[in-house]
């Protein structure tokens, strides 16, 4: 530890701390443009000049490490004169755009010029003109004249994310920030450069000219799009959400967002947004609809009893809403049939759940089944952050295709789809077959041996087994598709002495919160409701924020279930798929329209504030529940509000006792005909079902991915093409492109692609490529 004095106040900080960070710890504000804790020191902008005693000149606080006994002055005549000089240089070619610049009012160049700069410039020569208002991708424009060349954006993309898409071009005063090869930036972290830019050089296109800082309202919120639950701040003007920014929490996260979270906020205003209630295909008023639905509920309860009513919830609402639904089902209806609509079967016991702090300390990270880059992009960034901190980080991908990518290199084990659990049990048995837990795990496996695509040898598997058992801090990112992985994870926790943390990358984004609110989230519950519906035992189904056809793994079965129910009521932001299967559709309120708590994949509860009023006739769930209860002439009191936070566990979900390790069943391998493809589903946050007009240009044109060999065989060229697929349950057409990480015989398709429903054929199904005419005939 090093002791130093800043502005006559003493502080002790660890060795290697920069003066600017030490000052910040004391609450002393040193102006900064180029420095960012995540990106490290650069010293490009020179605005952070401070005076250090016994040093002949002013030094930059962001590149000077603290030394024992250092005496620093962050203000004073010399410092202010130095900063004034720096600002004069920065402003030489800076245009007088402040009235038309979107950054005006929240711009560090404005603020520091006001604080330190001189009132008038001395430079009479004409300013150099550069490119203005040039789009660098669909969401961001660059104004090169306003740039102060701090290089935050360039360093963020190149060094931090590892996707070199921005660079400095030119020399001296002609230097500009530009994209590599003058191609549009396509990184899904591109939006972060808007937050990073300290001046008005990189600006958001959807937010362009929408508002000025003084007519905005900002509320703290949480991104609802994937289980990461990034902290955001939502900006609204006149009752409309117009911007989402990252909200850094010191010591916990940097406030990075993916483009889905940053620009996908307009789902509340798209044309498809449900603004009125619909009963039997007729538009009606909200009051009329609650009366009708209330009478349905009354009739169903009288005629068929309590157990004929079921609730299906989507898992994207707040925990409070989940709690209200659960209490309504319990107290008013009296049914226990409440299930969360899910697309994967896995469940992670709370006790195994790790946190993002585990990622920051990990020495081995294992991706199971899914590349986190697609499903939970910001987790990929956290892994990359750890990789930069600790280049010795071992990353292992286990799945039906190569899950690693060049930004975080690692070993890939490409196995048959759906065999993750069996493969892991096999790898563990290779190392310690005699261990009783491993023996129990592999009791049913028999002579199972995995087949590898690629150059994996048995030695590699043995090494994986050792890494799983002996690494010092193991973090597993699990996609939840193979439910038997749960047993493997429990076994690992039982076997290992060091930390074993699991982060579930599967949705729905608030499933952990629903569990806390008292709604069991296991897949069997959902399956039971679907089964009973098909048998005709359910007469009234409330689908609240759920879309069974989209989520449920078997589309035909979901259709049969919905068709067999007398009355299906949907509460949501949009029409569910195949709205003719629903008898009532009423408009609900969602994220940014209701206050509430969301639980992320860490099991961390985070509060999101309502920012705007629900549009049209849409109402929060509790309004509907209250009026339905009223129709039954039952009291339904939700006061006092439920507090989801636990006194002992703080903002984390309290862990429970872990279940027993069960054996992994031997996976059945379907017979593959020559030329057949195995369909593998993935979660893709861009295709998560929330419509967005802003994101439309970024929606993947070719969501399906196949190997080069298959593409050649099927005649798919560059950049991609349409492919007809026939499975046992029907045919679909998929837009596919080549991805070199996909092995031959596998087609990877995200869940819920509009027009290409994966659940029509089934995850893991064997499919045949057919002509497109055959698809259109069906």
């Amino acid at each position: 530890m090093i002791r130093l004095t800043i502005d006559d106040r003493e502080i002790t900080v660890p060795e290697g701390t920069m003066v600017v960070d030490a000052a910040q710890e004391l609450g002393i504000d040193v102006p900064i443009y180029c420095y960012h804790q995540a990106l490290g020191p650069l010293g490009a902008c020179r605005i952070c000049l401070v005076q250090v005693e016994k040093m002949p000149k002013l030094v930059t606080a962001c590149t000077t490490a603290v030394q024992e006994g250092m005496v620093v002055h962050t203000r004073g005549a010399a410092v202010d004169k130095g900063r004034q000089g720096v600002l004069e240089f920065l402003l030489i070619n800076h245009p007088l755009d402040c009235p038309v610049c979107d950054k005006g009012g929240e711009c560090f160049l404005q603020d520091y010029t006001f604080q330190y700069g001189s009132a008038a410039g001395r430079y009479d020569e004409p300013k150099i003109h550069k490119l203005k208002d040039a789009a660098i991708n669909e969401f961001i424009i660059i104004d090169q004249e306003r740039c102060v060349l701090c290089q935050r954006c360039v360093r963020f993309m190149g060094e931090y994310v590892g996707e070199e898409q921005l660079l400095l071009e030119g020399r001296g005063v002609e230097t500009v920030v530009s994209t590599v090869g003058h191609q549009a930036m396509d990184s899904q972290f591109s939006g972060n450069v808007i937050d990073l830019c300290p001046v008005g050089a990189l600006l958001s296109i959807p937010y362009r000219y929408k508002a000025r800082p003084w007519n905005l309202e900002r509320e703290e919120s949480v991104c609802p799009h994937c289980p990461v639950g990034c902290t955001t701040s939502v900006t609204s003007r006149e009752g409309h959400v117009i911007r989402v920014e990252g909200r850094p929490i010191p010591g916990h996260n940097w406030g990075w967002l993916c483009d889905r979270g940053r620009f996908g906020y307009d789902f509340g205003y798209v044309e498809d947004r449900l603004l009125n209630a619909w009963i039997d295909g007729e538009m009606t008023s909200a009051a009329e609809s609650t009366r009708t639905i209330g009478s349905w509920l009354n009739d169903t309860l009288e005629q068929h009893g309590r157990d004929s009513v079921a609730f299906l919830v989507g898992g994207q609402q707040t925990m409070e809403e989940a709690y209200q639904i659960r209490r309504f089902a319990d107290e008013v209806v009296g049914t226990s049939k409440v299930a969360v609509s899910r697309s994967v079967k896995g469940y992670l016991p709370t006790g195994l759940n790790g946190t993002f702090e585990d990622l920051d300390r990990a020495d081995t990270i294992v991706y199971l089944g899914q590349d986190p880059y697609d499903a939970v992009p910001v987790v990929h960034l956290k892994v990359r952050d750890r990789h930069l901190d600790n280049p010795g980080l071992k990353v292992i991908g286990v799945g039906a295709y190569d899950l690693t990518r060049s930004t975080v290199p690692g070993d890939a084990f490409v196995i048959e789809p759906g065999e993750e659990a069996a493969f892991l049990a096999y790898a563990l048995a290779k190392v310690a077959a005699s261990d009783p837990i491993i023996a129990r795990l592999g009791a049913e496996l028999g002579d199972f041996s995995p087949t590898f695509k690629g150059s994996t040898s048995e030695q590699d598997v043995e090494r994986l087994g050792h890494q799983l058992l002996e690494s010092e801090h193991l973090v597993l990112l699990w996609d939840g598709k193979d439910p038997h992985v749960e047993s493997v994870l429990l076994a690992l926790r039982g076997l290992r002495e060091d930390v074993t943390a699991v982060l579930p990358t599967f949705g729905p984004s608030n499933w952990r919160g629903f569990e806390r609110a008292g709604i069991a989230v296991d897949y069997d519950r959902l399956e039971a409701i679907v089964e009973e519906a098909i048998q005709g035992k359910i007469h009234l189904l409330f689908s609240i924020g759920a879309d069974l056809l989209r989520d449920y793994p078997d589309r035909e079965r979901a259709k049969a279930a919905l068709a067999a129910i007398d009355r299906v009521v949907s509460v949501g932001l949009f029409f569910p798929e195949q709205r003719e299967l629903y008898h009532a559709v009423v408009p609900g309120a969602g994220w940014s329209e209701v206050d509430g708590t969301y639980t992320n994949m860490e099991g961390r509860m985070q509060v999101a504030k309502a920012t705007v009023q629900p549009p049209g006739q849409s109402r929060p769930v509790r309004t509907y529940l209250g009026s339905w209860a009223h129709a039954l002439k039952k009291s339904f009191v939700l006061e006092p509000e439920w507090d989801p936070f636990d006194n002992n566990a703080g903002d984390l979900i309290a862990s429970v006792v872990l279940p027993e390790v069960r054996s992994v069943p031997r996976p059945a391998r379907p017979a593959m005909k020559d030329g057949a493809l195995r369909l593998v589903g993935t979660a893709l946050v861009m295709e998560n079902g929330m419509p967005s007009e802003i994101l439309q240009p970024r929606m993947p044109r070719y969501p399906g991915r196949i190997s080069l060999a298959d593409a050649r065989r099927l005649g798919i060229g560059e950049p991609g093409g349409e492919l007809g697929l026939r499975g046992q349950q029907g045919v679909i057409s998929v837009m596919v492109a080549v991805d070199e990480r996909i092995p031959q015989g596998v087609l990877v398709l995200p869940y819920g692609v509009v027009g290409s429903p994966l659940n029509q054929l089934g995850d893991g199904a064997v499919v045949e490529a057919v002509s497109l005419e055959e698809v259109s005939l069906r």
Partner: protein, 145 residues
Amino acid sequence: MLEGVKAIAKGMGTTFKALTEPRDTIAYPEKRREYAPRFRGKHMLARDEDGHELCVGCGLCEAVCPAQAIRVVAAEAPTDKPVSWTNRYSVDYEVDLIRCIFCGMCEEACPTNAVRLTPFNELAAFNRLDMIADKEELLSPPVRR
């Protein structure tokens, strides 16, 4: 009776005397007062010589307005017909003339000298909505007769 005649004569005397004296009032609306050159009346939005709107929709008037009488919504200027001299312009500009206290701070804050307070002060309407001056109204300032 004589007393009565006297009193009437005195009263009429005062009346006729006052008839020849200079008046304190003017015959509005036939005649109007001359105001000081810096009189602050209703707002206008100015154009430049080419007819382009000067307002860039920066919202500084909105920010400075102590009565919160101004609402500005900016947008990207249409490219097909030149409206503004920059690519940003105000698509909506409203002044609530009931709220306005005619302090002139909007005029002072305007970086492009677009908002100006004219001497026009004949503000009257039959309902409150008519007292909200929209952009069209402000772009064609009324002239004081």
